[in-house]
Amino acid sequence: MSVIARSVGNALRNKVRTSAVVVILAVAIGLALSMLVANQAVAAKVTSLKASVGNNLTVNPAGARGGIGGGEPLTGGDVAKASAVPHVTSVTGSLTARLSNAAAATDAAAAGTTGAAGGPGGRMGASGTTSLTSAVDPGTLGNRQNSSSGTTTGGTGNAARPSFTIPVSATGISGSLTAAGEAINVTSGSDLNDFSDASTQALVGTTLAEKNSLQVGSTFTVQDRTMTVAGIFDAGTAFDNNAIYVSLAAAQTLLDQAGEISTMTVTVDSIENVDATKTAVAAALGTTRVDVTSGGQNLESAVSSLGTVQNISLIGFIAALITAGLIVLLIMIMVVRERRREIGVLKAIGASNRTIGVQFVLEAMVLVVMGSVVGAVVAAVSSNSIVSALVAGNTTTSTTTGGRFRGTGTGAPQAIGEAAAGGVPGGGNFGGGAFAGANQLIGTISTSVGWQTLVLGVVGILVIAAVGALVPALLTAKVRPIEVLRGE
């Protein structure tokens, strides 16, 4: 009989005790593995969160946001410069313009009342025309802004102004993301797929489509081009739905703004590099030429709360492993004490300390292996609920703090929103809405076991076995062979 077979036999000698030990070990090892799985899952989530949310920078011409303000436009060259900055994974440009209703513009021009100079007067600073009728009525806000800006043109004072319409916002894009770097929520039809300058595809907001009785496949005009509705999108707000998306190249051609870009969205590889990259992009493009904004800082609180979960699970993993190690240690010390006489016999008949030590180490390993197998089952059953318990427990606090951040975060879009109510699409990427999605993102943590988890788990268990078995094995060396004559 080999030493291995003898060790297995010894481990199973006292079946009741062995079962009890295996159950206790399984709970400890199962808990350790669950914690490890949680740790890995959260770590993976943190990495993906950092690389996917709150890592956008928005570049606008200095002094301009969308259709208001001044300064020089961005160009394709700026896109190339920004792409070359370290940690930048992608740069997309978009061109936003406001289109007035062609018929209303003609009327206004005929009446000779167009206040074309100085921003939102007359045509509200529109840079093109469309056959579409705006889905937003001017109302009190529109009239007030129209009239107040109208007075600066040195017109006819408080004389009654001709009726006007709120322009339709048109954004030229080169992918399926908005100027703010978010996905366009297409509710019917499909995304744009022809991004050439001859493209006639357009996405139309729901309210705008409704107002103009458009469906997928319907046509309308922008400047002198007939566009076809490829899809209808819902941006969630009446203001944002009073808009169309066309291809960037087509927008540049139609609006006679070749090579110009009103907003660039720069994606950074990780949220940690956002600040440094923000500075680097501004420096690359010229700090006086561009305004660079980032909107994702408040997500750091979500990431850091996940980091807490990661730390808790790591501590839990280590604590559970130490517990398992102590269980093995105590059991084996008990076994060695119980078998002092037998150890004495083995020594008396010629076993070396090493042989006996190896036998006890193997015996402990057998217990650990059995505990691990049962523990793995325990972990498989429990790790998902442990992870969700840990994450749910921690995001309660994160949403509380998140709410506070959110308040300050949405402050900026609100300010812009008021200015924009007159017809200016915000070019900034403000993270209020993005943070609301953080909870959902955290909620999708799944506990899949990767190979690193397995390797770590195996290493941890081996450490348990080593610690648990070495001490008792050393104790056996101290047992003197004369023990065999004790009590005789």
Binding site: M1, S2, V3, R6, G9, N10, R13, R341, E342, V345, L346, K347, A348, I349, G350, A351, S352, N353, T355, R480, P481, I482, V484, L485, E488
Partner: protein, 231 residues
């Protein structure tokens, strides 16, 4: 040949100094079946532990076939116990969850014999000590006292030792079985030319040995053996 020269063992318990073995000298020829008689507490077990290298003497020499085991380092003592000594205990001291044969194979495993060699030699030895083959695979804790002691004798013989030390080998057995065990030891000592030293307080056993020593107050004296038992 076993040669013991002026062996002393001193234990200190608190302020008291005990000398269970106090200047013992004797010589036994190879192949002798000898008994050491003594009352309990006379130092029998202590002397046995010194002869079997289970413990070290405070002074004096134990020489087995020219090798002074009192001077050996611990590692060599393990090898000495493995190769040159066989033990038979009163309580058998078999490993309870191993079969009779596995118990006999253990010392050979420690000596590095191959599995096949161990297996065949163990079977052979068990047959020699009178254990039928259907008992070979029985767990040690399921054997009767007499059978267990036979297995323990087979285990003592496993590595062809020069010396077998038996500590009260009949102490846990009924008279009849005890006698069979004594006869077995006696015949083995002669057949295999192995020195067998039996420590006992059983006079019936001692009467069957070639030589007889008496241990009292740490000192050893030889007693004459009745001629009828000499071969």
């Amino acid at each position: 040949m076993l040669e013991v020269r002026d062996v002393v063992k001193v234990f200190k318990t608190g302020d008291n100094t005990i000398k269970p073995v106090n200047g013992i000298s004797f010589t036994v020829e190879q192949g002798t079946f000898a008994a050491i008689l003594g009352k309990s507490g006379s130092g029998k077990s202590t002397l046995l532990s010194l002869l079997g290298a289970l413990d070290k003497a405070t002074s004096g020499d134990v020489v087995v076939d020219g090798v002074n085991i009192s001077a050996l380092p611990d590692a060599k003592l393990t090898a000495y116990r493995r190769d040159d000594i066989g033990f038979v205990f009163q309580a058998y001291n078999l490993i309870p969850n191993l079969s009779a044969k596995d118990n006999v194979m253990l010392p050979m495993e420690f000596a590095g014999l191959s599995r096949a060699e161990r297996s065949s030699r163990a079977a052979e030895l068990l047959v020699q000590v009178g254990l039928e083959e259907d008992m070979h695979d029985r767990k040690a804790n399921k054997l009767s006292g007499g059978m267990a002691q036979r297995v323990s004798i087979a285990r003592a013989l496993a590595n062809n030792p020069k010396l077998i030390l038996a500590d009260e080998p009949t102490g846990n057995l009924d008279d009849e079985t005890g006698e069979l065990i004594i006869d077995l030891l006696r015949s083995l000592s002669h057949e295999k030319n192995t020195t067998i030293l039996v420590v006992t307080h059983d006079h019936a056993l001692a009467a069957k040995t070639d030589r007889k020593f008496r241990l009292a107050r740490g000192r050893l004296t030889e007693e004459p053996v009745r001629a009828a038992h000499l071969h």
